[in-house]
Symmetry: C2
Subunit: 218 residues, 2 copies
């Protein structure tokens, strides 16, 4: 029980990042099980569903306290609620999107974000031709307005979908506006202070690791 009593800051520091990155998958899988009326699930079954081993499942979940009862498995509803709580998914998170080009528009219109509690709250673009236009009922504003607007609207999460060469200056403006977490679609590594979290989605890098396996005939 010691872990549960620890302050949140210490919690974040002691859990390996790979575990944090797997937790949303746990949340999704547990929600699907709950929808199917499943009340109790074993680490074996969770392993099957997540493409992992029962030992890995037990180890991952042990970071957050004792959930399972030996021999009976995990209570699905309780575990789902607890993972949601740990991930901070009990609240709605407003997000800003910077870059409303082809990819940005697909992102702005993706219904999966709102369904998961992420509300697209603000759109920005560096292109003057796009400023003032509306996408999904939200008016695109200029990046110059961004720092003040982000602060005023209390937005801490941004999605970056600008070309590579604009990514760093736009990031600097996001940080000026108080953004603390960035989902980066631009194919560059962003320079940010250590307390800022950045995750990058770069399909080319993913494809390049796939070809390793094709090339090595796994």
């Amino acid at each position: 029980m010691k872990k549960r009593a620890a302050p949140a800051k210490a919690l974040a520091a002691e859990i390996p990042d790979v575990v944090i990155q797997r937790l949303p998958l746990y949340a999704r899988t547990l929600n699907l099980l709950a929808k199917d009326g499943v009340e109790v699930v074993s680490s074996f079954r969770l392993g099957e569903l997540l493409g992992s081993t029962p030992a890995q499942i037990r180890k991952d979940l042990s970071y957050f306290g004792r959930f399972g009862k030996q021999g009976t498995g995990y209570n699905v509803a309780y575990l789902a609620g607890r993972v949601k709580q740990i991930l901070g998914l009990e609240q709605e998170w407003p997000m800003a999107l910077v870059g409303v080009g082809r990819l940005g528009q697909a992102i702005a219109r993706y219904p999966g974000f709102a369904a998961a509690g992420f509300r697209m709250a603000a759109l920005f673009d560096t292109d003057a031709d796009k400023v003032g236009k509306r996408v999904e009922g939200i008016t695109i504003r200029s990046v110059e307005e961004m720092p003040r607007a982000l602060k005023a609207e209390g937005i801490q999460i941004a999605i970056l979908a600008v070309p590579a060469d604009r990514a760093q200056p736009v990031t600097d403006l996001l940080l000026e506006g108080g953004v603390r977490a960035i989902l980066n679609y631009a194919p560059v590594s962003l320079k940010v202070p250590p307390e800022i979290v950045v995750r990058s989605i770069d399909p080319v890098l993913v494809l390049q690791s796939l070809t390793f396996y094709l090339n090595n005939h796994r």
Copy 2:
């Protein structure tokens, strides 16, 4: 030198997956250094550029043989070439895209793939209204034609951008057509045999791990 002499199959088996997933970032960073005229780079500098430690860099690269000379660092051109070779990036890879909706169109038109040696070779959709239309000069075909077309065109890599409920049946058709690597944008876990490599890009899952850090005040 033992590692270099090992057959490719053994090579793929012994390198941790997390290392493989980092290699494309090495390739990108080394290419940028080479473009900037840098001839030699230390593990310290590579660590800075990759957001990693010098020890981690040396460990990662040690899986592929001895690259660095003690005290002098890595030869950028040689290391870039070797990483490219290991990843199988010396050839062009034709790809199929299934699902030409909003996201699929952004993917079909993204110039970054071709620049990295991934050629969009075929488009498919489950929607009869889209079949026959052209995107970037490629005619969209029906998924029923997919298995035969993929075999005929020797396509081993597919990008999946269909809605969640179509993902598994489309995947089965991809495998029937001989596809061995899938980049999955649908928010579901695909069931595939162990020899097939799947990587998923799901921005919601990424956002849900970002909120952990916001919630825990890293």
